[in-house]
């Protein structure tokens, strides 16, 4: 596997310009001769589909849900960053670039991150033109807030529903292209396999979720926009259908998988409350702008929060990190919450929670102001927990949230398989070892609206390809392999449910293994233990899972089983990756590598690289490749938020 990043020549600020100039184009009249498959309709997939169709390509777009508007992106709450500097508070492209690369603990590719900051401003203009109702100041200009540890106000938002509004914007652009006939939309169709012809990505196999029918589609290029793999842990803030299947199928066909162990654990989620729990709910971290995080100073203090006097509270983030206080980056906030709970100071029935308190903000600004900012979040919190944050502090605990790892891509967002692109959360992205708040929406839309068009033209304009349709043998072979796999999934169910396990039971077991050993803090011993225990869970799945029903109908247990089967295989490279990276960086804390103050300690001499895993067949050991990270303009420094 060759890792050519294809970063363009020239000074950092000119690379994107140079690249667009030197990149091949496809003549507008010729574009209709090319077809492109886009899998996914989140921010990345919807924006890419609409944009490519506007440019004249024939686009076929797929999603799991019943409508493209329901992709997981819809749930993003807090906001989207851009370097507009509308607030005149010292922001710039350079600063957004620097914050992003530093926030990622210097484990991302400089040129990509710079480009992201460069195109960020156009995203806001695009969304405004679509009629996205961003929050406004009284004078009518766009409002901003400071978010997720940024010291400038660069986050644009639409109440606590920014992802919804941005996605509905992209969805409306997509709807317009569906209407024109340039996009053919396939809802409730799950990609089950990637099809290669002559080593290039030329199509996919899908399963119709309603009928179970397997179908094949061919194209001149395939774009995966299938989101992140946080659901490997069973419990996460991701939507229930979020999965690794599409990316994993591509990996098994030769696409390198980068940094699979980089998983963001978000500090402000509603704590787990029972074994029946099906997902975790995020409370936007914008709450940390006004909420103060604390625990009782005395371990095991069971008094109600209101009865604990000020001097017996430990506002640990404020005391430990005086300049950032409650706004330290996510990884730092999460680890500190865990530390407090490990020290016995956790609150709530499980002792796995800390307080997020709005009392001071309410007495300062009044209830009305606080409700205007966070009303819908407070409501959501109360619906779930039956407790009102106006009267009692929230309880929060970290939860799996976002995956920085993903399919390795070059500067063009192309994977190691020619003609296969990955955009949005499903690529290994620009966030390095830790993503800053409000940067995923930015990246998804940057990829889809402003970058992939250039890449697709560059690829199609410079690649000779034969005309291929789905009558080609590779398609029937791929379809057959999917058929066999479904049959294999159903095999253990033949004798009925007695003595068998349900899909969720096994998924929970995998989730626990990963959470315990490959979660917020990792060490060699734990990771080796997880690696040793994984095969038994895999075996249990294939021997003992019970899936009711057949493959030829709407069968939600079978859908989940297929996704779990891939998570079970994928977990191996997650653990291997965490094991191999013996340094700490960003969200990846190796307990062996900490500073004296218990902060993550990077090892630039040993690990300033992207770890890229190559599949080696069923019985092979995954092979590690490294893309060395070279920094032309920034000097990696030890992150300090003191």
């Amino acid at each position: 596997m060759e890792l050519k990043s294809n970063v363009p020549e020239g000074p950092l600020a000119e690379k994107w310009d140079n690249h667009r100039f030197s990149s091949k184009l496809v003549n507008p009249a010729n574009r209709r001769k090319y077809s492109i498959i886009v899998v996914g309709t989140g921010l990345a997939g919807a924006s890419a589909s609409a944009t490519l169709a506007e440019q004249g390509y024939e686009v076929e777009t797929f999603c799991i849900q019943d409508s493209p508007r329901r992709a997981h992106s819809i749930a993003a709450q807090g906001g989207i960053n851009a370097a507009k500097n509308y607030q005149n508070d010292g922001d710039s492209i350079q600063r957004l670039f620097y914050d992003t690369i530093k926030g990622g603990d210097f484990r991302s590719r400089e040129a990509n991150v710079y480009r992201l900051a460069q195109v960020s401003n156009s995203i806001i203009d695009q969304c405004v033109a679509q009629g996205v109702p961003f929050a406004r100041e009284y004078g009518g200009t766009l409002a901003n807030r400071s978010f997720g540890g940024a010291q400038v106000s660069r986050t644009f938002y639409a109440r606590g529903q920014t992802g919804q509004q941005l996605l509905l914007g992209a969805y409306s652009a997509l709807a317009r292209q569906i209407k024109t006939g340039k996009v053919t939309m396939h809802t409730r169709k799950e990609m089950m396999e990637l099809v290669l012809v002559d080593g290039k990505a030329r199509g996919i196999v899908t399963r119709d979720i309603i009928t179970g029918k397997l179908e094949t589609y061919s194209a001149d290029a395939v774009i995966l926009a299938t989101g992140g793999y946080g659901n490997a842990y069973f419990l996460s803030t991701n939507a229930m259908a979020s999965n690794v299947t599409a990316a994993w199928r591509a990996h098994k066909k030769g696409a390198g998988f980068a940094n699979p162990c980089f998983i963001q654990i978000h500090p402000t989620c509603i704590p787990v409350h029972g074994s029946f729990q099906s997902k975790l709910t995020l409370m936007s971290e914008s709450l940390r702008n006004d909420g103060r995080v604390w625990v009782p100073k005395k371990p095991g203090d069971t008094r109600r929060p209101g009865s604990i006097p000020e001097n017996e509270r430990d506002y640990y983030l404020e005391s430990k990190y005086p300049s950032f206080g409650n706004l330290v980056p996510r990884d730092v906030a999460s680890r500190n919450a865990k530390e407090q709970c490990d020290d016995g100071k956790g609150v709530g029935t499980t002792n796995l929670a800390v307080y997020l308190d709005f009392a001071e903000a309410i007495s300062r600004d009044g209830e009305a102001t606080i409700l205007k900012k966070y009303g819908n979040l407070f409501q959501m919190y109360e619906k779930i927990t039956d407790s009102n944050p106006l009267h009692e502090p929230m309880m929060i605990y970290p939860a799996v949230h976002y995956t920085m790892g993903g399919l390795w891509v070059d500067y063009n967002l192309m994977t190691t398989i020619p003609g296969l692109f990955a955009i949005g959360e499903c690529n290994f992205s620009d966030h390095g070892a830790n993503r800053l708040g409000a940067s995923a929406l930015m990246q998804g839309l940057a990829d889809g609206y402003f970058i992939i068009g250039t890449s697709i033209a560059g690829y199609l304009g410079s690649t000779e390809q034969d005309i291929v349709d789905n009558g080609h043998k590779q398609f029937s072979d791929a379809k057959k392999s999917v058929q066999d796999r479904i049959a294999k999934l159903l095999r253990s169910s033949e004798g009925g449910p007695a003595g068998k396990l349900t899909v969720d039971e096994i998924h929970k077991e995998l989730g626990l293994l990963l959470w315990d050993h490959c979660g917020m803090a990792r060490n060699k011993e734990g990771l080796e233990k997880a690696l040793a225990e994984l095969p038994a869970i895999q075996k249990k799945f294939w021997d003992n899972v019970y899936i009711p029903g057949t493959g030829e109908e709407l069968n939600q247990s079978l859908e989940r089983a297929g996704r779990l089967a891939d998570f079970l295989e994928f977990a191996e490279i997650m653990i291997l990756d965490a094991l191999d990276r013996a340094e700490s960086c960003g969200c990846h804390l190796r307990e062996e590598s900490q500073t004296e103050e218990h902060e993550a300690k990077r090892d630039d001499a040993g690990y300033s690289h992207v770890a890229v895993w190559e599949y080696q067949g069923e019985d092979g050991v995954p092979k590690l490749h490294k893309e060395q990270l070279l920094f032309e303009t920034v000097t990696p420094s030890q992150r300090s938020y003191k």
Binding site: D66, R70, A75, A129, A175, D386, P548, L554
Partner: protein, 252 residues
Amino acid sequence: MPTTNITLSLEIWRQKDSKAKGDFETYKLSNISTDMSFLEMLDVLNEQLTREGSDPVAFDHDCREGICGMCAAVINGIAHGPEPETTLCQLHMRHFDDGDTLVIEPFRSRAFPIHKDLVIDRSSLDRIIQAGGYTSVNTGGTPDGNSTPIPSATAELAMDAASCIGCGACVASCPNSAAMLFTGAKISQLSLLPQGQPERKERAMAMVTAMDKEGFGNCTNERECEAVCPQGISIRHIARMNREFVKASFFA
């Protein structure tokens, strides 16, 4: 309210596929924690059915946070259940009592064929948006975001309308199966904003026409839609749509 465990009797609509004739089946479910969400309660039922070797109940869901609009069922005659401004996934079992009987059926409308059990086809709503629920701008070359000031109050009004999650509860609750609230919300959002002005008339005409074509009924001011809407979308948006439509037809 302290957490307790309750026992429920469930009458659930079971229908094998779009062609089958469905019927209600009764299930007993005990030990349901009042901290569970409604969908978690269905998960527990489905685990139980699976272990018994029966077919679990198919139901749609994804975000489980009240924002994707995918979950949908009518509980004791009310779309999304008894809690105001709450989707099914955000409805919690503490709102039910020990021994309650819950009748659970799909959203019903001519325009929403049933696929299986509680899973329905709402693509008709997508087609209404495709008819005109957008501004016709291509990617790139749009003016600076701050070039057109929009009063904060206007943006907030547009946001009220834009917050529709496309669940279809308004349709399911309407005696006429009208999609007026859904369609009105989108037309309203775009007609409030300067960006929506150039296509204002064409949009209203096209979307209302699409709505009729899909087989949705007409509004007779029953206000059931507003009562069940999880986003609290006001029927004022229907009035605004009607005004937009009349203006558009008048000048057409």
